[in-house]
């Protein structure tokens, strides 16, 4: 920061004493946020702390109940994002607002009414302007390839490029590093620094402490809708920021590693799930999975790490029978199950925690009690012939609600009204209360707050200790390193790395996630192979 003068005209954004309620829920209470021109300001907080609400008010998507907003010194009242854009504010949403079938160029000119006919000359002119911005800020983007073919990192650069093309001087980035590889994060941060140096003010919503500390000038922490403090990044560290965010620091202690113990004791692990050369197509007919092979033994957690969008969705769907594979075999406890449907796989002892828990995990409009038996309501004791035993379903629900500490008003509450953490507890309760041998868990802790994350991790570890074979598909390295006995990395539909727990190395796995497997990989794989061949 060049100057510490507190003159109003140095501020690009001032949000003063902002409050916002939704019904009885207080999303923001008396929050003040000031961002100077050319400053990178991080907005830190847990899920539900009110970060997005605050930024949605700055971007014109919501209106504050009280308080005032000033942009470049003058008071503003935005009633739409268009008004905010006209004032020079651009927002890059966490879930990109790009049309997948259109190209970056088409997405960027979308909504521009200045030209009706998109002549080649006009397009060439826009392309030229975009290329200038690409060169100036190092935002490499292929302008004429449909969005769905681009990596998540490139899509994000399209969003930033769009904001710059629309001459935004204030940029809001919602969780900009969440979906990126460590390498892509490394590339993004200096680009943002360069933008700020040119005078752009940048507000980053994040819960990645490390990235925030690397890049931000100042950090504002929100906790339960209130401003828990604004600090200079140079004066603080990750631990104290974490404490400000949650009030306490949660630590997950991984239980003792019995898989490694058994492997070294010479006991052969019992193979539960073996994939041999699985390939599958994505929704657009692209090769989403190529020649995926792995082995998963009883009582171990094997993780598939990777940046999202590298075939994880297709993999979980193929494994549980929701998507057809084009080639390959899948053995469950020795029997080939690749041609079976999800119901048959469940009967054979397989269970599934889907990454999209509201789409595949729960029936939103049905009661929690019904959701807890959707996989078994036709079996005894929940049904006798064609008649449901509602009393048994209720008592079963009450039992699981207690054991998994699900917060509900009553078992009749619709599952769609639960918070993310409680919704996932319902999925876990149903999945783990069944007699299973093999579990495919995709993003089991995604979007949950710290307390719910450790609950999920404890339950998965306990299941593993009871002999369940768990395939953990996760984009969070912290989760992989906390839980897994072994880990693979998936990159562009292929498994490209393989580590045993005692070889876990953040840098090597991170590089592989970015498509660069480490040089000494083969020895790891060979060593592991030796463990399996008995």
């Amino acid at each position: 920061m060049a100057t510490h003068q507190h003159h109003a005209d140095h501020y690009a954004v001032e949000m003063l004493s902002i409050s916002k309620r939704f019904g009885r829920f207080v999303a923001n209470k008396d929050v003040t946020l000031r961002v100077r021109r050319g400053e990178i300001h991080a907005l830190l907080g847990e899920n539900g702390a009110g970060k997005s609400t605050l930024m949605n008010m700055l971007y014109g998507l919501l209106k504050p109940d009280s308080g005032s907003i000033r942009v470049n010194g003058s008071e503003v009242r935005f009633d739409s994002p268009q008004a905010a854009k006209a004032a020079g504010i651009g927002m890059v949403h966490q879930h990109y607002m790009l049309v997948p079938t259109l190209t970056p160029l088409q997405n960027i000119i979308l909504g521009d009414r200045a030209k009706f006919v998109l002549s080649e000359r006009h397009l060439e002119q826009v392309r030229g302007q975009l290329k200038d911005l690409i060169v100036k800020y190092g935002l490499t983007v292929r302008l004429d390839v449909p969005i769905w073919q681009l990596s998540v990192g490139e899509q994000q650069r399209v969003e930033i490029l769009r904001a710059l093309y629309h001459q935004s001087t204030i940029l809001i980035l919602d969780e900009p590093t969440a979906m990126l590889t460590p390498k892509e994060v490394e590339q993004l941060l200096p680009r943002l620094k360069a933008l700020a140096a040119e005078g752009t003010s940048i507000i980053i919503i994040s819960h990645h402490l490390h990235d925030v500390l690397t890049i931000a000038d100042n950090v504002t922490v929100l906790r339960a809708g209130e401003n828990a403090g604004t600090l200079q990044a140079a004066d603080t560290d990750a631990r104290s920021l974490a404490r400000m965010m949650v009030g306490h620091v949660a630590d997950f202690q991984r239980p003792a590693d019995n898989r490694i113990a058994r492997a070294t004791s010479g006991e052969a692990p019992q193979m539960r799930l073996v994939a041999e050369g699985l390939s599958a197509e994505g929704d657009h007919g692209q090769n989403a999975l190529e020649d995926v092979s792995f082995e998963l033994g009883a009582g171990e957690i094997v993780a598939i790490a990777g940046v999202s969008g590298n075939g994880q969705t297709e993999l979980e769907e193929v494994l549980f029978g929701l998507r057809e594979s084009t080639t390959g075999r899948l053995m469950l406890s020795g029997a080939d199950i690749i041609r079976t449907d999800p119901g048959q796989r469940a009967k054979a002892g397989m269970a599934y925690i889907p990454s999209d828990r509201y789409r595949y995990g729960l029936v939103r409009d049905m009661a929690v009690s019904s959701n807890l038996v959707v996989d078994r309501f036709r079996e005894k004791p929940f049904a006798h012939r064609w008649r449901l035993s509602l009393d048994t379903i209720q008592s079963h629900a009450r039992d699981l609600i207690g054991r998994f500490a699900i917060k509900v008003k009553s078992p009749q509450q619709p599952a769609g009204t639960l918070s993310g953490g409680n919704a996932q507890r319902v999925v876990l309760a149903r999945t783990l209360s069944r007699d299973i041998t093999t579990l495919v868990a995709a993003q089991p802790a995604r979007g949950l707050d710290v307390g719910a994350v450790s609950f999920v991790w404890e339950k998965l570890s306990a299941a593993r200790d009871n002999g369940v074979a768990i395939l953990l598909i996760s984009t969070e390295l912290d989760e992989v390193f906390a839980l897994a006995d072994r880990c693979y990395v998936i990159y562009r539909g292929k498994l490209i790395g393989h580590w045993h727990r005692n070889e876990f190395d953040r840098e090597a796995v991170g590089l592989a996630m970015g498509g660069m497997p480490h040089a000494n990989q083969s020895s790891n794989t060979a060593a592991l192979g030796a463990v399996h061949v008995h």
């Binding site: 268009q82 079938t101 979308l110």
Partner: protein, 317 residues
């Protein structure tokens, strides 16, 4: 087979493909905005009746064309109110529109004309020979010796295809059909663009009905469109939501329709041993078979992602 037999056949095929082609291209534009208009059959039928009434009472084919379009649009407005304004279920709304039109057209025609053995007829349009082009052997008689209505229809189809691919409006229409929330964020009016889609679709269906009556049949009868509206919807899928491919599908329908008419004549007309309904079913059977085959071969899913889903601002999808 000699060429003299083929020329009138293909010329006829071309004419027969226009009504279903117009409806299909309109439907294609509408579906690209994310709105599934299942009411095409009803709109086409209403357009056929109002075109007939316009042409009959005002004694002018061109007024018939205008009233035909207006008849289609009147049901398009109903569909729009149901699906866009009050976010009703699109499939149910479309079927309601078809049923309403089936009953209403039959009732109106019956009460206005009290038809005896010979139904009232209207004048057709004169053929317009395009200078020079119409003299090209083979192609000339097929493509350039048609009524002006056929040329206008063809121009409209090409114009709409160009609009969808080459203008900012077309880009906006595509965007709200694929990812309406992204369109909304870019400042587009999702509802407005879907209104545009349903109005185009209903106008084109009404025009299709008008062409059927004015350029081909010159009379009206109950359910005279005979499922061409449903075929139009199938052609959109066959054409993978690309207007010109959709029209290519309509041409195929026209060729089979012309062939079956020819076979009926050759087989002896009403006196034929084979029931003529069997021949009449041929274009529908072939179109469906081609649709199934093309769907089986398709790799990439071309359907607009938001098709059939009402857009409610600020709600997660």
């Amino acid at each position: 087979m000699n060429i003299d037999f083929l020329i009138p056949l293909l010329s006829m095929a071309f004419v027969l493909s226009i009504p279903v082609g117009l409806a299909a291209v309109g439907e294609c534009i509408c579906q690209r905005t994310g709105l599934l208009n299942l009411g095409v059959e009803g709109m086409m039928l209403m357009g056929a009746l109002t075109a007939f009434l316009g042409a009959f009472y005002f004694d002018s084919s061109w007024i018939g064309v205008l009233t035909g379009v207006a008849g289609g649009v009147s049901l398009g407005i109903l569909m729009g109110v149901l699906c866009i304004s009050i976010k009703a279920e699109q499939v149910v709304s479309g079927i309601v529109v078809v049923l309403l039109s089936l009953g209403l057209t039959s009732y109106l025609y019956g009460s206005l004309f009290h038809v005896g053995t010979t139904p009232p007829r209207i004048e057709g349009l004169a053929l317009l020979h395009i200078p020079l082009l119409s003299n090209i052997p083979v192609i000339g008689p097929i493509l350039f010796q048609q009524t002006s209505l056929v040329y206008a229809s063809l121009a409209l189809i090409v114009l709409l295809s160009w609009m969808l691919e080459r203008t900012s409006l077309g880009l906006a229409l595509q965007a709200v059909g694929e990812k309406p929330e992204a369109g909304d964020a870019a400042g587009l009016s999702v509802d407005g663009l879907r209104w545009f889609g349903i109005l185009i679709s209903s106008a084109m269906a009404g025009l299709g009905g008008a062409v059927l009556i004015i350029a081909q049949l010159h009379l009206f009868a109950d359910h005279i469109t005979a499922g061409r509206g449903w075929i139009a919807i199938a052609l959109v899928i066959f054409g993978r939501w690309k207007p010109l491919w959709v029209f290519a599908g309509a041409l195929l329908f026209g060729v089979v329709d012309a062939i079956q008419l020819k076979i009926q004549v050759v087989a002896g007309g009403i006196d034929s041993a084979i029931p003529f309904e069997l021949f009449q079913a041929l274009p529908y059977v072939i179109t469906m078979a081609v649709l199934v085959l093309s769907a089986m071969r398709a790799r990439r899913n071309a359907q607009p992602s938001a098709l059939g889903i009402p857009f409610i601002k600020g709600q997660k999808h």
